[in-house]
């Protein structure tokens, strides 16, 4: 991050032939490397543009670019219908464009997963940071890293081949007499919850480990037990870092695709029945991609409307996460 200061003049040290060439090469390298760095910014801009451009044609019947070329916008799907309608079937013979069922599906999975990953991840973080002897720590941490490194498609398989038929379906039939299908909201919640445990535990543990030992000692010297220190000193002192991990896990759950698709299904039911099938926003996108969706059809455009909404939701979460992380860093640096 430093800048160069080559003096251009001066007796005997002014750049002669070879030095000039070297400096020229350096300047060229700098320009090329800057070009590389702009690609990431261009990626973000491209994502924004593609989503907004295509979503425009879903709502207004013409792409943003086409409108700039003079096409007149004509409302095809109203925002009111999109955000309040309770039937989602853009691909149906009598199409309906109420996104509530798939937004609800995504939120239901997210909330359910948070009920799994937040308590378990936080407890794991406290155990790792405050209680675990080194011998256990050195095994538990890599195990959680493996859990984090397993591809989502494998979690999807785990859901459809194990969690749903072996764990969830027997409960449904034994306790509630429900004969369940291949998919269920509950198995989606469980599998996404399991996937996001390592995010919560590792980031929360980092935050807890950053709490200075002086605070722990101050509490121990007052006759606090480890339980007091963990819950009344360490957890409150690391709370913004811990929240950051929750938000990251929630953001991940919102955008999660393969595991929920294989676990919770493709039917846009507006139901909170844990044994019923639902559809998340991401599952809808997979469903459309699996079908033969022609470019320019309303189904194709709907992909981008849903994608834009998804992007905005995760972007909000990421900015929130950033805010919490910065707050935490301010407290302890």
């Amino acid at each position: 991050m430093s800048t160069e200061s080559h003096h251009e003049s001066g007796a005997g040290i002014s750049g002669d032939g070879p030095v000039q060439a070297d400096n020229e090469a350096n300047r060229r390298a700098r320009r090329i490397l800057f070009g590389c760095a702009t690609i990431t910014v261009l990626t973000t801009l491209a994502i924004f543009f593609v989503l907004i451009d295509n979503a425009a044609s879903y709502f207004f019947g013409a792409k943003l670019t086409e409108m700039l070329m003079g096409a007149s916008p004509e409302q095809t799907v109203t925002f009111t219908e999109f955000f309040t309608g309770t039937r989602w079937a853009p691909d149906h013979a009598t199409p309906a464009h109420g996104a509530i069922p798939i937004i609800f599906g995504t939120l239901a999975i997210t909330v359910g997963a948070a009920f799994v990953s937040i308590p378990i991840g936080t407890a794991t973080a406290i155990y790792l940071s405050e209680y675990a002897p080194d011998s256990v720590r050195s095994k538990l941490k890599p195990t959680l890293e493996i859990l984090a490194g397993i591809p989502t498609i494998v979690y999807g398989y785990f859901a459809i081949a194990f969690i749903n038929p072996v764990l969830v379906a027997p409960i449904a039939s034994a306790l509630f007499g429900i004969n369940m299908g291949r998919y269920s909201l509950l198995s989606g919640m469980l599998v996404v919850g399991i996937m996001t445990i390592p995010m919560v535990s590792s980031i929360s543990e980092d935050a807890m480990s950053a709490v200075p030992d002086e605070l722990r000692n101050g509490a121990y010297a007052l006759g606090a037990t480890k339980f007091n220190v963990s819950t009344r000193i360490v957890l409150p002192a690391s709370i913004s870092g811990v929240f950051a991990s929750y938000i990251l896990a929630v953001s991940r759950a919102i955008g999660e695709t393969m595991a929920v698709t294989l676990a919770a299904g493709f039917t846009a039911n507006l139901t909170a029945n844990p044994f019923g099938e639902i559809m998340t926003m991401t599952a809808y996108m997979v469903k459309m991609a699996r079908g033969t969706t022609a470019v320019g059809t309303v189904e194709y455009q709907s992909l981008f409307a849903v994608g834009l909404l998804l992007f905005v939701m995760t972007l909000t979460m990421n900015l929130l996460n950033d805010w919490f992380k910065r707050r935490f860093q301010e407290e302890y640096r």
Partner: protein, 278 residues
């Protein structure tokens, strides 16, 4: 090693010592060490220390850095337990009970023996919650009027007038000296018997330090104070008894402060003290 009688007070000196005449009272021993050894792994930090610390007096522990004076302090309230490799041998008793006996619970011990640390370490909580913390975790919050107890502790730490209007603001917003007095208030709120102080003024400016020194003088009316300091003038000013540790974790001399500073038995103590005084 025993508490001497009062004839030391007859000596007039140019060093101002033990500002009040507590030395003419005989006090019961509250902390007693016998052949205490402390090890960090293979390293011996304290070797064969025996001393009797009287109650309601200020006992200063001085010595060069690395001499084990802080280790000794932390072994009294078993804060050394927090360090995995630390091992204690010998006898260290509190009111005649060896604190390293199997049946002694360090958590219970620390409720009787409070500690103030070198660096002020207020919790990232409000001033009020900092002071109330000890009472809350010790289950005393229901037995006493918490507001009253917090006020009493803050007054005891000579901080009340400065913070009474902002009890809800964070303890971290106070100045360094105020933070340290907050930590003292936090330590005395649950009403321990002994307060251990580990170089409590070394991170503070002289004005803030002198406030703490005045405070220690008052605290000793109610508590037994054991203070580690590397500042010999401070030890001379505020303590009744002084113990001198030298490198190797050895207790070289322990006597009334006046004796230590004016007429030490051990040449090494004299060298150490005069070397520092110049």
């Amino acid at each position: 090693m025993s508490t001497k009688d009062a004839d030391q007070s007859l000596i007039t000196t140019d060093v101002q010592t033990g500002s009040r005449d507590r030395t003419d009272r005989t006090h019961e021993t509250v902390v007693k060490a016998r052949n205490l050894d402390v090890y960090y792994g293979d390293e011996q930090a304290i070797s064969g220390v025996s001393m009797d610390i009287p109650e309601h007096e200020v006992t200063a522990i001085i010595g060069p850095s690395g001499c084990g004076k802080s280790t000794f302090l932390r072994s009294i309230n078993r804060m050394n337990d927090q360090i995995d490799v630390c091992r204690v041998e010998g006898d260290l008793s509190f009111h005649g009970k060896n604190v390293y006996d199997e049946d002694v619970d360090p958590v219970a011990l620390r409720r009787k023996v409070g500690q103030v640390f070198q660096k002020p370490n207020p919790f990232p909580k409000s001033i009020y919650d900092n002071v109330a913390y000890g009472l809350r975790i010790q289950g005393k919050a229901d037995e006493v009027d918490l507001d009253d107890a917090v006020e009493r502790a803050l007054r005891g730490a000579a901080l009340w007038d400065e913070v009474k209007d902002k009890l809800d603001s964070s303890g971290l917003d106070l100045s360094g000296g105020q933070q340290q007095r907050l930590c003292i208030a936090r330590a005395i709120a649950p009403d321990p018997e002994v307060i251990l102080m580990d170089e409590p003024t070394s991170a503070l400016d002289p004005v803030a330090a002198s406030k703490i020194e005045d405070l220690i003088d008052e605290l000793v009316e109610e508590y037994t104070v054991i203070i580690v300091t590397h500042n010999m003038q401070q030890a001379a000013r505020i303590s009744d008894q002084t113990a001198v540790f030298l490198t190797g974790g050895e207790l070289v001399e322990f006597d009334e402060t006046a004796t230590i500073f004016e007429d030490p038995d051990d040449d090494r103590v004299e060298d150490y003290i005069t070397g520092k005084f110049g």
